[in-house]
């Protein structure tokens, strides 16, 4: 497959408008205020996001969407990762592809939102029954989206469950139960698993890039032994490795995205590789960003820890390294 992985003009415009809006209303520093936790800032600005067309980017124009492909949604998700925007936004971007009719319209136009449901053990939609899940930033959401490789389902949630303290305290995690036999909308097949995986990989790639930039900026201004620490090879080489991981994450995510557009089938191989590589890049870059910030990096006051925690949280949504490895090894491999 031959692809041009640089942004098209339209993708560059989408990138710039999401980044511009996020810099204004979702600066990472907002997360120092508990009022911004649990998608506080996002729910306050939900209409602005809807007006940007974010929730209808990949929906057909007949469904009231913008009519773009997954490539434009991935472009947006990468920017959302850079600003640690709530996973509620990603989940709603996914849910519009499951919902139909009024619910779809409500999700698209920003009057409703949907949260990620993260199952505690693999779900079996055929067998049905109850599924224990974690809901992510679901306090204002009426819906939750849950998927495996054979189905993606949208549920109505009346009870958000009990709040549990999360590794990333800026995201509200609740424990709830979903009745697998009564989803309000369902899409069969692996297409939405692929879409979800690509959005999450793009978000993680965005974290990998943002942490690289933070670390490099700090290495340029922090002076020790009479020179910026970035002049020392120990630090410079950490930064080079961070750049490599960020490049790997973005490139593989974009390649997998174009592959998903090109191949009509439901092959999840490239997406699984993207999730594995992007999760590793986000967590490792998050870790090295803390390290390069030294003592400051270890404090609550700095921003560095927020990226690491969010990287750990998002890489564990409905999958993890072991699951992706299993998927990759069970696959027939690259086309």
């Amino acid at each position: 497959m031959i692809a041009d992985l640089l942004p098209t003009e339209e993708q560059a415009a989408i990138r710039d408008s999401i980044a511009g809006l996020s810099a204004k209303i979702f600066p990472v520093a907002r997360l120092h205020e508990p009022a911004a936790f649990g998608a506080g800032a996002e729910t306050g600005a939900w209409q602005s996001l809807a007006e940007l067309g974010l929730f209808g980017l990949g929906l057909a124009e007949d469904d009231g969407g913008v009519g773009y492909s997954i490539a434009e949604e991935v472009t947006a998700a990468r920017e959302l990762g850079r600003f640690l925007v709530s996973p509620l936004v990603l989940a709603t971007m996914l849910a519009v592809h499951v919902a139909r009719g009024e619910v779809q319209a409500a999700l698209r136009n920003g009057t409703q939102c949907a949260a990620f449901a993260n199952p505690l053990r693999p779900v079996d939609f055929v067998a049905g029954g109850l599924a224990d899940v974690q809901l992510l930033d679901a306090q204002g959401a009426k819906f939750a989206v849950l998927w495996n490789d054979s189905q993606c389902a949208l549920f109505s949630i009346a009870d958000h469950g009990k709040i549990v303290e999360a590794i990333d305290e800026t995201v509200t995690l609740t424990r709830a139960t979903l009745d697998l036999s009564s989803p309000i909308a369902v899409v069969s097949g692996a297409a939405l698993a692929r879409r979800a995986g690509l959005l999450l990989a793009a978000y993680l790639a965005g974290i990998a890039e943002a942490t690289l930039e933070m670390a490099v900026e700090y290495a340029k201004i922090r002076v020790q032994f009479g020179q910026p620490i970035g002049a020392f090879q120990a630090i410079k080489h950490y930064c080079a490795d961070m750049a490599l991981r960020a490049e790997a994450a973005v490139s593989q995510t974009f390649y997998a995205t174009i592959d998903s557009v090109a191949q009509g089938d439901e092959n999840l191989f490239e997406m699984a590789c993207a999730r594995l590589v992007a999760a590793n890049a986000a967590v490792e870059n998050g870790r090295y960003n803390v390290q390069i910030h030294g003592g400051m990096g270890f404090t609550y006051e700095a921003d560095a820890h927020m990226f690491l925690k969010r990287a750990l949280l998002v890489s564990a949504i409905n999958s993890g390294a072991r699951q992706e490895q299993a998927r990759i090894i069970a696959s027939a491999g690259p086309a």
């Binding site: 497959m1 031959i2 692809a3 041009d4 992985l5 640089l6 942004p7 098209t8 993708q11 490539a71 991935v74 472009t75 690289l212 490099v216 290495a219 340029k220 020179q227 910026p228 970035g230 002049a231 020392f232 090879q233 630090i235 410079k236 080489h237 930064c239 080079a240 490795d241 750049a243 490599l244 490049e247 790997a248 994450a249 973005v250 490139s251 593989q252 974009f254 390649y255 997998a256 995205t257 174009i258 557009v261 090109a262 191989f269 490239e270 699984a272 590789c273 594995l276 590589v277 072991r322 992706e324 490895q325 299993a326 998927r327 990759i328 090894i329 491999g333 690259p334």
Partner: protein
């Protein structure tokens, strides 16, 4: 990000695939010596006669004049067909040719490009010296202007495929007064000129494919200077840019094929516990999956580099990311192969292949053409804008 596999490109792909299926050499490529050189040249000749040489080179010099996308399709299919590496033709095809196309004079292009594509000549590189490896700018091999010639004295080292080579891309100090990188020139040397002596060096794998080259008053016409006298550093960076950009794509795609071979081997070999296949072992499966993902990402990084190159003529520092990843990853892949094989990994020749040799050889990708440490410095300074430190 968009698909550019047009219908024309797909047709081109089918054409390439069919031709390679029929014409790619089936004999094993000799590992060293004159037989290896003859093999590489014959295969190049076959490609030229089939109309497949120099796909992105200008048509007036024997190439096809097609865009980079076609070149990429060629590399993909080449690897898929398991065609042999360009070997003795590598420097001519991936360094010298592209450099002459951009920096050479009309006479230099006319004189060399077609002969390269036809597989009539092989080239070797002459950049590193015993005292100038990573610190390439400090090289000392001198060239003094004498009439319409340069007189060269000194020595170059790590010259792969030097024995038998017809030409050498030679980086020389032509102005001893100038600052380190300023007084260098990139010169075409005829390897048969009087005063050149080649001493082969055996690599840690046991294979002899590189050498030290000595120059004793070697006379080279001034018309062989490429890109102007004392402009050699810039020309050399162009040369290495190709190696770090598109020149290595074939090897990167090849690595994906090697990992797929390992997946097949893991289905055949016994698990370390003795129960079931190796691939049923959780740790082996996890590592194989990670390697599959990492080589997929390497391929995607290549695609990203190609995408950038489609928008800019001369490759930038991004190619270092790909080369760094490749240098590190190839060793992980080959070490894993030995571990997967268990006791068979100790034997140099088994029905599974020559994995110990492949492992020992792959170190060259983390050292040659810039060590992984130098690549990290370049990424840090040129790509990320970090300050240069006190010279290490």
């Amino acid at each position: 990000m968009k698909l550019i596999e047009t219908r024309e490109l797909s047709e081109f792909r089918s054409e390439v695939r069919a031709w390679l299926e029929k014409n790619a050499p089936r004999d094993t490529r000799p590992r060293e010596g004159p037989g290896m050189r003859a093999f590489d040249m014959a295969w190049q000749r076959t490609q030229f006669e089939g109309g497949w040489a120099g796909i992105s080179w200008p048509a007036e010099y024997g190439g096809r004049g097609l865009p980079l996308t076609h070149q990429l399709v060629w590399h993909e299919e080449y690897s898929r067909a398991g065609a042999p590496s360009s070997g003795n033709m590598f420097v001519a095809l991936s360094h010298a040719g592209p450099t002459l196309i951009i920096q050479g004079t009309e006479a230099q292009r006319k004189n060399h490009l077609r002969r390269i594509l036809k597989g009539e000549v092989t080239w070797c590189q002459g950049f590193s010296e015993p005292g100038a490896g990573s610190d390439l700018g400090s090289l000392k091999t001198r060239a003094v202007v004498d009439g319409d010639s340069l007189i060269v004295n000194g020595s170059k080292i790590w010259t792969t495929y030097a024995p038998g080579s017809d030409f050498q891309e030679l980086l020389l100090r032509t102005d001893p007064e100038a600052q380190k990188h300023r007084g260098l020139s990139w010169v075409i040397a005829d390897m048969r000129a009087p005063g050149i002596e080649i001493r082969p060096i055996r690599a840690m794998s046991g294979i002899t494919h590189f050498a030290q080259v000595f120059y004793d008053n070697v006379r080279i016409p001034l018309s062989n200077v490429v890109g102007g006298l004392n402009n050699g550093w810039k020309v050399a960076m162009t040369t290495l840019g190709f190696e770090r950009g598109t020149g290595m794509i074939a090897h990167q795609i090849e690595l994906s094929r090697i990992v797929e071979t390992l997946v097949r081997m893991a289905r055949e070999l016994d698990a370390p516990s003795g129960a079931g296949c190796a691939i049923d072992d959780g740790a082996i499966a996890a590592e194989l999956a990670t390697l599959r993902a990492e080589v997929a990402a390497l391929r995607s990084m290549s695609a990203m580099t190609i995408s950038r190159n489609m928008h800019e003529a001369v490759p930038g520092a991004h190619g270092n990311l790909v080369a760094l990843h490749f240098g590190e990853l190839t060793r992980r892949v080959h070490l894993f192969a030995l571990q997967l094989l268990g006791p068979l990994g100790l034997e140099r020749h088994t029905s599974f292949g020559e994995w110990p040799l492949e492992y020992l050889e792959c170190f060259k990708w983390a050292i040659g053409g810039g060590t992984t440490e130098i690549r990290r410095n370049t990424i840090g300074e040129r790509l990320l804008g970090l300050p240069k430190g006190a010279q290490p």
